[in-house]
């Protein structure tokens, strides 16, 4: 549905998007993830024909954004970061205007507006002035505007920013419910959002795609290199030293790194990282037992998407194994 290849967008002095390529299949929900200023909005603006690319191609529903912008625009619904609302209009009036603008035939217009107002739960404020609406309502009116012409592709730029937790959940549900009929790209820097809504995630940093994969694969792949949290103490009547334990743990085969953590209520705490594909937990337990220490806790620490994200987007950690692999895969 969406095909982007070698997309580059240069501004006067800086490169906002650098050689970005990805594809989105029909009906997918894709999360576009990256820190602020990573180039998410720019990429979306290119896809919506708001900005022309400096280099590379972008296709939406088989139409090139530069050569056939009208065909592209007919097929996309776009919710920018700040919903593009006219404060002096009433909600219904605004949606009618948006519908007309996007070429909804006048015979279907009022039915469409009614349908999207109900779907986005703004029907109860349809006669209110937009300037009087709360942030949450505004966001939903913006979303209603994006789907009023029933587009094939929905592009949502930070659809939940600035909403309260309840509204965030409602908006997420709404977006999920739109998934079947529409192909959706949404950008965000909130990770749980991607985990809860998207099937696929594209991580972008400093204008480059650093990873493209399904959410499951991404967490799974990184979990291959397992981390284990351990809490140890000495048996009664004896003492142990941190360095001693650390050394012992490092000797276990398959362990790549042992990180010392802050002790808690007299217990020494460590985080052990293993090499990829090695299951070191039984060996760790045995080693501790044989050394004569008490094992209080031993559990795997899964990498959350958050950690993956940080790993992928902060420059000094990209040297780590998983990130390097992903870069190759992307």
């Amino acid at each position: 549905m969406i095909k982007v290849s070698g997309l580059t967008k240069r501004y006067a002095r800086n490169v906002a998007v650098n050689n970005v390529s990805f594809e989105v299949a029909k009906g997918e929900i894709v999360g576009f993830l990256g820190p602020n200023g990573a180039g998410k909005t720019t990429t979306m603006r290119v896809l919506t024909c708001f900005l022309p690319p400096s280099d590379g191609q972008a296709e939406v529903a088989g139409f090139d954004v530069v050569k056939n912008p009208m065909d592209v625009k007919k097929r996309i619904g776009y919710l920018p970061e700040t919903p593009p609302l006219y404060p002096e209009m009433e909600v219904e009036e605004y949606l009618l205007f948006a519908g007309r603008l996007k070429g909804v035939p006048s015979s279907q217009l009022s039915a469409r507006v009614k349908e999207v107002s109900e779907r986005c739960s703004v029907a109860d404020v349809s006669k209110k002035l937009i300037s009087k609406l709360s942030k949450g309502y505004r966001q939903r009116v913006g979303l209603a505007q994006a789907i009023v012409h029933n587009p094939d592709v929905l592009i949502l730029d930070e659809p939940t920013s600035g909403l309260d937790p309840k509204q965030i959940i409602e908006t997420r549900e709404l977006i999920k419910s739109l998934a079947g009929d529409h192909t959706i790209i949404l950008s965000t820097h909130i990770l749980p959002e991607v985990e809860s809504m998207c099937e696929k995630v594209i991580i972008i940093n400093k204008g480059r795609v650093v990873a493209t994969d399904s959410v499951n694969n991404l967490t799974h792949r990184l979990r291959g290199a397992e981390a284990v949290a351990i809490e140890v103490s000495a048996r009664e009547g004896s003492t142990i030293e941190t360095a001693q334990v650390q050394q012992r743990l490092e000797q276990v085969s398959g362990v790549s790194r042992v990180i010392t953590k802050e002790p808690k209520s007299g217990n020494l705490r460590f985080e052990v990282e293993s090499l990829q594909g090695r299951h070191v937990r039984p060996d760790l337990a045995r080693a501790i037992h044989e050394a004569g220490w008490s094992l209080h806790e031993l559990h795997p620490v899964s990498f959350s998407l958050e950690e993956i994200f940080l790993q992928l987007t902060s420059a000094d950690t990209t040297a780590q194994v998983p990130a390097a692999q992903l870069e190759g895969a992307a």
């Binding site: 919506t48 022309p52 009208m70 776009y78 920018p80 593009p84 609302l85 948006a98 603008l101």
Partner: protein, 255 residues
């Protein structure tokens, strides 16, 4: 419905839902009324004097009141046009609604023409308010309506030109005040360019006074439609709208 008309209708609605249109109408009614009162009162006292001194030929309203009235209307434009055009694009850019327009399946030209047309319709409404004064002349005399109509046609041309220039300036700024002040400055400059002919008759002076936007109004207010002046105004309108289109395009490249 054509996209141009959708934009035009939305713009008109925003003029007439907000106090902008009514404020401007009140302003025009007040100032034009004052102009008219002064012109008529001086006309009356002057013609009294003429009769006293034994002039047989009655004075012509078409010769004195109408041209001055219409000429003065162009001064009102100088203030009204920046007020209309300053929000045209500056407001859309500031609130981000420009993103809705530019990502909808309509062309830049339709947006520009739609906005320009709506502003012109508002301006014609303002001219209508001023025309109410002239109705009084018809109640108490028999002025010729044709020169009046031609004069108003000229004012519509002048207004359209100034609006096109203002629209262009509005596309260049996010700030309404900047857009408004810029438009006022440019309009004022185009206004006073012909002052140079008072002391200079060189080619430069002739060219400058030709560019002056009011010299081309004079024939109209005297009731003459000269194709030269029509073409001048049409080219200014075209030029202004063309610059707006270019500026919108550059907005995309720079934004």
């Amino acid at each position: 419905m054509s996209s141009l008309w959708i934009i035009c209708r939305k713009e008109l609605k925003s003029y007439f839902v907000s106090p902008i249109a009514y404020g401007l109408m009140a302003f025009v009614a007040l100032i034009a009324g004052w102009f008219f009162y002064n012109l008529t009162a001086s006309f009356v006292s002057y013609s009294m004097q003429m009769q006293m001194s034994g002039q047989s030929r009655p004075m012509d309203m078409n010769e004195i009141i109408v041209p001055n009235m219409l000429g003065n209307m162009s001064i009102i434009f100088l203030f009204v046009v920046p007020m209309i055009t300053m929000r045209m694009f500056a407001e859309e850019k500031r609130t981000g609604t420009i993103e809705l327009l530019l990502t909808s399946p309509i062309t830049d030209l339709q947006i520009i023409l739609g906005k320009w047309l709506a502003a012109l319709i508002l301006l014609i409404c303002l001219l209508g308010i001023s025309a109410l004064n002239l109705m009084v002349l018809f109640m108490y005399g028999q002025p010729d309506w044709r020169p009046i109509a031609v004069g108003y046609l000229g004012l519509i041309f002048l207004g359209g030109s100034l609006l096109a220039i203002g629209e262009f300036i509005s596309t260049t700024s996010k700030n309404q005040i900047v857009a408004g002040a810029g438009t006022f400055a440019i309009c004022l400059l185009l206004w006073v360019l012909n002052w140079i002919t008072q002391f200079d008759t060189s080619t430069t002076a002739t060219v400058l006074s030709y560019i002056c936007i009011v010299t081309h109004l004079d024939p109209f207010v005297k009731g003459i439609i000269d194709s030269k002046d029509v073409i001048f105004y049409l080219s200014v309108i075209f030029f202004g709208l063309f610059l707006s289109a270019r500026s919108m395009e550059s907005l995309r490249w720079r934004a």
